[in-house]
Symmetry: C2
Subunit: 340 residues, 2 copies
DNA sequence: CTTATGTCTGCAAACGATTGCGGTAACGTT
DNA sequence: AACGTTACCGCAATCGTTTGCAGACATAAG
C-alpha cells in the first residue's frame, strides 16, 4: 500500500513541494497554469492527501469517537446514524466502540479513543459510577465530551437526555388508569442513573393514586439482557406474587419477561400488561407488540453531534443540556388502556 | 486538549529528545538511572505517545476498518466482537462503519477507510455488483481486504463464509420431510450473492423430492427489512396462493412475514411453517421462536481477523477461503419437523 | 535607468517520534 | 602515556504537509 505524496507530484513536474502544496490549497500565490498542471498531475498520479501528516501539523484528527453501552438492540445504531449525518457534513469521521455493558470495556474504549487522539467523544455510559476518575481526567484535560441517554451523575457536562422521571411517571399512570393495580417494576442496575429516575417515576405514580409501594416484592432488580428478563418472570411466577402488570426498565428486559410469562401460561395483556422504556424497533416485532417510551433516537444523535461540534470549536462554551421529547407508544402488550 | 510530548520530558529533565525516545523504547543504550528518570517524568507529566507521529514515521495506523451492511440486527455486532477480540490482542484498533444496506453509503465508507489510511479492511457487502471498481482499485493497490458472509463474486479474495447452498438445501429438505409441500421462498435482493445461493439450495431441495419449482408464484423477491417481509405476507394472502411453509432469505424477512401472517389470521406453525437463514438472537425473542440457520458469528469474526492479520503481515500470502459451519436451529416456527 | 510594486516560486522550519551516526566521557589495557 | 573499548547521549534527518520568509523576475511608475 504505497501512497502518492506531494513530493511525487513535485518531482514529476520538477517544481518544489511548496508550490504543489499551495496549488492544492488554492493559495492565490500560484499562477493559474501552474495550479492546473499540478491538479492534472495529481489526477494522473492518483494523489490522495495523507491526513496523518496534516493531523500531525494541526494537532487534530477530524475524528469523533462514539462509545455505546451495547449494540444488540438497534438503539445505538440509530443514534449513531443521527450523529453521522451531521458530523460527516462537517468533514468529521466517526469511530464507534461498543462496551457490551461492561464498565471495564468502557474504560478500555475510553483509552482507545484517547490514544487515537479523537477531537471529541460522545458517550452513553454503562455505569455512572465506575469510570468517574477517567472521565474527570479527560474533562480536565479539556477533551470535548458529550453524553447522551446514559449520563453521569454529579458531573457538569453537555448532555442529551429524555425526561426519564416524567415519562415513566406518565406511563405508569396510564397503566393505573387502565385498571392495573398491582404493577411490578423491573428495575435496572443501580449504577445506571436512568434506572433510579425511572424507578422514582414509578413510585411517585403509585403514590399519586394511593397504591402502596412495596419495594420488597413488587420491585425487582435485574440485569440488562433478554435472559435477565426471563429469570425475573420465573421468579415472579415461582413466588406466587399477585400482579397484573409489569413496567420494565428497558425493552430488552420487557421482552425477556413478556416472552417467559407467556411460556408460563400468562395471557398478555389480559392477565398481565407489559410496558417498558427505551423502545426500539424490537418492540414492534415481538408478540404482542410492546408498549414503550420511545426516544427520538435520530434526533438524539443529531443533537449530540451538534453539542460536540460546539465544544470542539470552543472548548470554553457552556455545557448545555438538551432534553428531547420521548413519545409514549401504546401498543397491544399493555391492553386496553385508554389513549390520551 | 494539549498533549505532553517527549520534548516536554526532555526539557523537564534537560536532556535530548533522542535519549527520551530511547528510554521510552527500552533501548539498551541508555543508563538505567536515566531511563528511570525518564519513566518517572513521563508518569508525572502524564505523557502519552502520539500515535499520529509514529504512524507518519512508519506508514501504518494500526487500525483495521470494518464495513458492515446493517446494524439493526445483532449479526454485525457479534461478528465485530469476534474481530475485536483477536485484533485488540495484536495491538490493532478497530473502527466500524455501517452501510445501512445502501451501496452508495458503502462506497463512502470505503473511501472513508482509505482516507483514514487503515492497514486493512474487513467487509461484508451490501451488493456484490455495485462497487466493484472501487474494490478492484483497492485490491490492486495492495490494501489488505477480507470479506465475510456477504462476499463478492468473481474476485479472488480472502473470505469467511458459510455454506449457503447446502445449509439452505438441508433446511428446506427438513421442511419437506416434515410434511410441507407448498413452500414459498422469499428471496433476497439479486445483488447479494448469498441470496442466489440460498435460492439455489431451495430449488434443488424441491427437485430432489419432485416438488414442482414454481418461480412465478412461489418465489418472491423482497428487500431486507421487517416491513419488506410484512408486505410479502400481504401479497401472499391477498393473492390467495396456497402455501404451507415459508423459507426466507434472512431472519429479518422471516420475522416480518411471520408476524404479519399471524395478524392476518394464519396459525404458525400449524398452517404455515416459517424458517430462515442467518439467524441471530432476534430469532429467539419473536413468537413463535424462529427456526433458522445460525452461523457461528463470533467465530466468523475471529477467522476474518486472523485472515486480515495474515494479509497485513504478508500482502503476498495466498487468499484463503474459510468455510465455517452454520448450525440449523429447529424451533417452534417450523412445527413438528423431526429432529436430525 | 532606477525604483517600486506585484506575482510567483523555493528554502527551511515546524508538527512528534524514531534512529543512524558521530561525539564524549570513563575506564581498562598495554 | 597512548590507545581501544564501552556506555551513554545529542545532532540531524526522516515521515507528508503547511507556511513565513526571502529571493527572483517582470512590469509599471518615476
Amino acid at each position: 500500500m504505497k501512497h502518492v505524496t506531494i513530493k511525487d507530484i513535485a518531482r514529476y513536474l520538477s517544481i518544489s513541494v511548496s508550490t504543489v502544496s499551495r496549488a492544492l490549497m488554492d493559495d492565490r500565490n500560484v499562477r493559474k497554469e501552474t495550479r492546473e498542471k499540478v491538479l492534472e498531475a495529481a489526477r494522473i498520479l492518483g494523489y490522495k492527501p495523507n491526513p496523518v501528516a496534516t493531523n500531525l501539523k494541526y494537532g487534530h484528527t477530524n475524528t469523533v469517537g462514539v462509545i455505546v453501552p451495547e449494540m444488540v438492540t438497534p438503539f445505538a445504531s440509530t443514534v449513531i446514524n443521527g450523529i453521522r449525518s451531521v458530523l460527516y457534513g462537517n468533514g468529521i469521521k466517526v469511530i464507534v466502540a461498543d462496551s457490551g455493558e461492561d464498565p471495564d470495556r468502557e474504560r478500555e474504549n475510553l483509552r482507545l479513543m484517547e490514544h487515537f487522539m479523537v477531537d471529541g467523544i460522545i458517550v452513553s455510559m454503562c455505569s455512572y459510577k465506575k469510570n468517574k476518575e477517567d472521565y474527570i481526567r479527560l474533562l480536565e484535560a479539556d477533551l470535548p465530551m458529550v453524553f447522551y441517554d446514559r449520563i453521569p451523575h454529579g458531573l457538569e457536562v453537555p448532555q442529551v437526555i429524555v425526561d426519564d422521571y416524567r415519562k415513566s411517571f406518565f406511563l405508569v399512570e396510564k397503566m393505573i388508569l387502565g385498571g392495573r393495580k398491582r404493577i411490578v417494576h423491573i428495575q435496572g442496575p443501580d449504577d445506571i442513573y436512568n434506572s433510579v429516575e425511572r424507578a422514582r417515576g414509578y413510585r411517585d405514580a403509585l403514590a399519586k393514586y394511593k397504591i402502596p409501594y412495596d419495594e420488597g416484592t413488587m420491585v425487582i432488580k435485574a440485569g440488562m439482557t433478554f435472559e435477565a428478563g426471563a429469570e425475573v418472570a420465573d421468579r415472579l411466577v415461582g413466588s406466587g406474587i399477585q400482579f397484573d402488570a409489569v413496567f420494565a426498565f428497558t425493552d430488552t428486559l420487557a421482552i425477556g419477561v413478556m416472552n417467559r410469562l407467556r411460556e408460563l401460561g400468562k395471557k398478555i395483556p389480559e392477565e398481565v400488561a407489559v410496558a417498558s422504556f427505551s423502545g426500539t424497533e424490537l418492540s414492534t416485532i415481538v408478540y404482542p407488540k410492546l408498549t414503550t417510551v420511545e426516544p427520538p433516537l435520530l434526533q438524539m444523535g443529531e443533537k449530540a453531534a451538534e453539542l460536540i461540534l460546539e465544544k470542539i470549536k470552543n472548548p470554553a462554551c457552556p455545557n448545555r443540556t438538551e432534553v428531547v421529547n420521548a413519545e409514549i407508544r401504546m401498543r397491544e402488550s399493555s391492553g386496553n388502556i385508554r389513549p390520551e
